[in-house]
């Protein structure tokens, strides 16, 4: 370890059972000035209780408007290793699946061109290559693309769509999150790399209402798997849960939000017309219950963090859509049409730095639906309006008057 690396405060973070990022970064400190000065600057932050990074900075690679977060130390003389410390966001593969061969390609590139530090992964889903100098950005990009990797988004663009493991390793998947994320990312390369929206646009896909990518909380467009027909039941397997002493009454029946489950003898009966597809019973008894056959996804729009109007969960716009063949680009026509109408309407009527969720709230759901050509449905609301302030558009005029 480098002699001049005195980090008594950070060293406290090497104690304890949870793996220490300090210990890990220290393994690079001998090889990488960046890693070392990052620790030294961080130590100063720990002393002074404040960050020492300058605000933003417009850097990037040729022809791309996003994918790089510029970052400069506020104390470049003291910590020259991090005087530049830009982030390169790289599209993760669908479902964050890798082989060691593939990941080693990235590691080699970043050891050569950057700090050798990463976030695996960023909150949006990208591989986040953490820290390099401006002059290394273009070479990093070239090396990445040569191996088949491309940059993610930043700024007012489409962000790298992300998706749960879905059909690749989950029995609950109601649609092909993996393939759909791939298809969307590829189709909208321009939207991803050249920020031209009012603000960022994040797409996340979860294969079922368990929502393992937090799509409903963290994406402007959440595609969440759902089914329309009945929950599939294997009564023999159900009986085994009872036989094994699993407390079906307390842990399943009593917890069903609509009380639509009844157990008679060793048989489970579900009133599917009242089931709200919450997943709880399926989660508890995966051997006995599974999602139906008529599968697809709901499209919810508008989740975001609180800045500025308060946090939003995404709300239902299209309660159900399905795609015939996820591998076939042509099958996506209905979806792509809708997405493009959404972007167009938002582009035309939204304001700068207005996320789609805030936009919908501002213009009203009714206007938004009309604008994108989607029919109103009770499935889009918790309940109809309770205030009487209705803008009527049809009214009668005196004969001769109109």
């Amino acid at each position: 370890m480098a002699d001049d690396l005195k980090t008594p405060l950070l060293d406290e973070l090497e104690k304890g059972p949870w793996p220490s990022f300090v210990t890990d970064i220290k393994t690079l400190a001998d090889k990488s000035e960046m890693a070392k000065d990052l620790l030294r600057q961080l130590e100063k932050s720990y002393e002074d209780k404040r960050g020492y990074w300058k605000h933003g900075g417009l850097v990037g690679v040729m022809g791309y408007g996003g994918g790089v977060i510029g970052r400069y130390s506020a104390l470049p003389e003291e910590f020259p290793g991090v005087s530049h410390f830009h982030t390169v966001r790289v599209n993760q593969p669908s479902g964050w699946f890798y082989t060691s061969d593939a990941l080693r390609e990235i590691i080699d590139i970043w050891d050569e061109h950057g700090s050798g530090l990463y976030n695996m992964h960023g909150s949006t889903g990208d591989m986040v290559l953490l820290g390099t100098r401006t002059e290394e950005l273009e070479p990093t990009f070239r090396a990445l693309t040569e191996k088949g990797w491309d940059l993610g988004g930043s700024g007012s663009d489409l962000r790298t769509p992300s998706n749960c493991v879905g059909p690749a390793r989950c029995e609950n998947a109601c649609f092909d999150t993996m393939e759909m994320a791939y298809k969307i990312t590829h189709r909208y390369q321009d939207e991803l790399h050249r920020p031209m929206f009012n603000y960022k646009y994040k797409i996340k896909m979860s294969g079922c209402p368990n929502d393992c990518t937090a799509a409903i909380a963290r994406s402007d467009m959440a595609l969440i798997g759902i089914w329309k027909d009945d929950i599939k039941v294997d009564q023999a397997e159900f009986a085994k849960y009872l036989d094994d002493g699993f407390n079906v009454q307390e842990f399943v029946v009593d917890k069903c939000p609509t009380g639509c489950i009844a157990v008679e003898g060793k048989q489970i009966n579900i009133d599917n017309s009242n089931c709200v597809k919450c997943m709880h019973c399926i989660n508890r008894m995966p051997h006995a219950l599974s999602v139906g056959d008529e599968k697809g996804f709901a499209i919810n729009l508008g989740a975001k963090a609180p800045i500025v109007e308060g946090a939003l969960f995404a709300s239902v716009i299209v309660p159900f859509m399905s795609i015939e063949d996820y591998k076939d680009e042509d099958s996506y026509e209905e979806f792509h049409d809708l997405l493009e109408r959404i972007w167009e309407f938002w582009d035309e009527h939204g304001t700068s730095r207005e996320r789609i969720g805030e936009f919908i709230e501002r213009v009203s759901l009714a206007t938004f639906l009309e604008g994108i050509g989607v029919e109103p449905s009770p499935k889009q609301v918790k309940a109809p309006r309770d205030n009487p302030y209705i803008f009527y558009e049809e009214y009668y005029a005196e004969e001769g008057e109109g």
Binding site: G51, Y98, D150, G310
Partner: protein, 358 residues
């Protein structure tokens, strides 16, 4: 490495198929069920076989050496196949059940932990903090480390009533899942931005800066003939949105920046609809390197949840069952005027009924 080839752009990510384990390919979209084989251990079975997953912790902020270790283990036990989870854990994907134990052993030898599945605390979703972001009111990686040090048993064992998900964000931008987590730790500034009127006119657009404030606290003004802005300190709630669009309005304030604790959010639709996280503790000081006030507060809540919630009840569901008054009683957290909402839809949070516990 020479990069002399023709410059290509807009190629997108590689197709995932080449990263899929053969067993996964064969069962793709046809999985029948999964089983939990213990903390951090899952098996998924389809018509064409079973794949085993071993979930390993990760600090998320990692070095090449960490990733090389992952690759090495994957090659040794998993034919090179692995993935990351949506909460930044590593999942090794094994064809051979017998490889589980040796893999776990080797993971532990590397100082890493196996766990995070089922009724446990999984990895903390978090953000950049003092490591990389200009906005941060606290560190993120350090907070995660000290909190998980306290809670690591809950990662390696499955002894909670249900899943418990923690998030950390270092400022109100909340680059993470803070607004919908069982427990969230949120860094915040508590003093208005300081306007640097020397640099502001060059760095910032005045109308954008004025428009950025959710509470109309910013007004254009003129200082020594230059157009700049002033902040109505009565109206400022330190959200930092002005700083995002205008670097000449920094908020960092070592004396007052700190951490707040939030509870009871969730994302899944299981049983109850998704819920926002609610304020538990408005302010705890930044006390690096180990933030003892924060770790104590979080541990207190986790332990009360562990002891009192019913099976398959998330933190928010537990609190809703017992009532917020009891939550504040049990945790000993003081209920203050700061807990009363005063933003846009504040009225919708008032208790407009007689339903109260006495």
């Amino acid at each position: 490495m020479a990069t002399e080839a023709k410059r290509v752009t807009d190629i997108g990510p590689p197709h995932f198929e080449k990263f899929l384990h053969p067993i996964i390919k064969e069962n793709y979209g046809q999985w029948k069920f999964h089983d939990s084989l213990g903390p951090g251990l899952l098996s998924h079975t389809g018509p064409n076989g079973t794949i085993y997953s071993v979930r390993m912790s990760s600090p998320r902020l990692v070095s090449s050496n960490f990733l090389r270790m992952v690759c090495d283990l994957a090659e040794k036990y998993c034919d090179g196949y692995f993935r990351f989870t949506s909460r930044n854990n590593v999942e090794f994907l094994l064809a051979n059940k017998d490889n589980i134990d040796p893999l776990v052993k080797e993971i532990n030898e590397h100082g890493q932990l196996v766990g995070g599945t089922d009724n446990s605390i999984s990895n903390i979703v978090h953000t950049q903090g003092w490591v990389h972001c200009h906005s941060s009111a606290t560190d993120a990686s350090g907070l995660v480390k000290v909190v998980m040090d306290e809670l690591s048993d809950y990662f390696t064992e499955q002894k909670l009533p249900h899943k418990l998900r923690i998030a950390v964000a270092c400022c109100l931008n909340m680059c993470g899942a803070v607004h919908a987590s069982d427990i969230a730790i949120l860094g915040l500034h508590r003093t208005p931005p300081r306007v640097d009127s020397d640099t502001l006119p060059n760095l910032c657009e005045i109308p954008t800066t004025v428009a950025s404030c959710p509470n109309n606290a910013i007004r254009p003004t003129s200082v020594e003939g230059k157009t700049t802005v002033k902040v109505d300190e009565e109206k400022c709630m330190y959200c930092g949105n002005c700083f995002t669009v205008c670097p000449a309005m920094p908020l960092a304030d070592p004396l007052n920046d700190g951490v707040s604790i939030w509870v009871g959010g969730k994302i899944s639709n299981a049983r109850t609809e998704p819920m926002f996280t609610k304020l538990a503790i408005p302010y705890l000081p930044n006390n690096p390197p180990r933030w003892p006030e924060v770790t104590d507060a979080v541990k207190n809540i986790v332990e009360l949840y562990a002891a009192n919630a019913r099976p398959f009840e998330r933190v928010g569901e537990w609190i809703n069952r017992i009532g917020w008054e009891r939550f504040f009683d049990m945790t000993g957290i003081e209920f203050t005027k700061y807990h009363l909402d005063d933003f846009r839809h504040a009225g919708t949070t008032y208790r407009r009924s007689l339903h109260n516990r006495y």
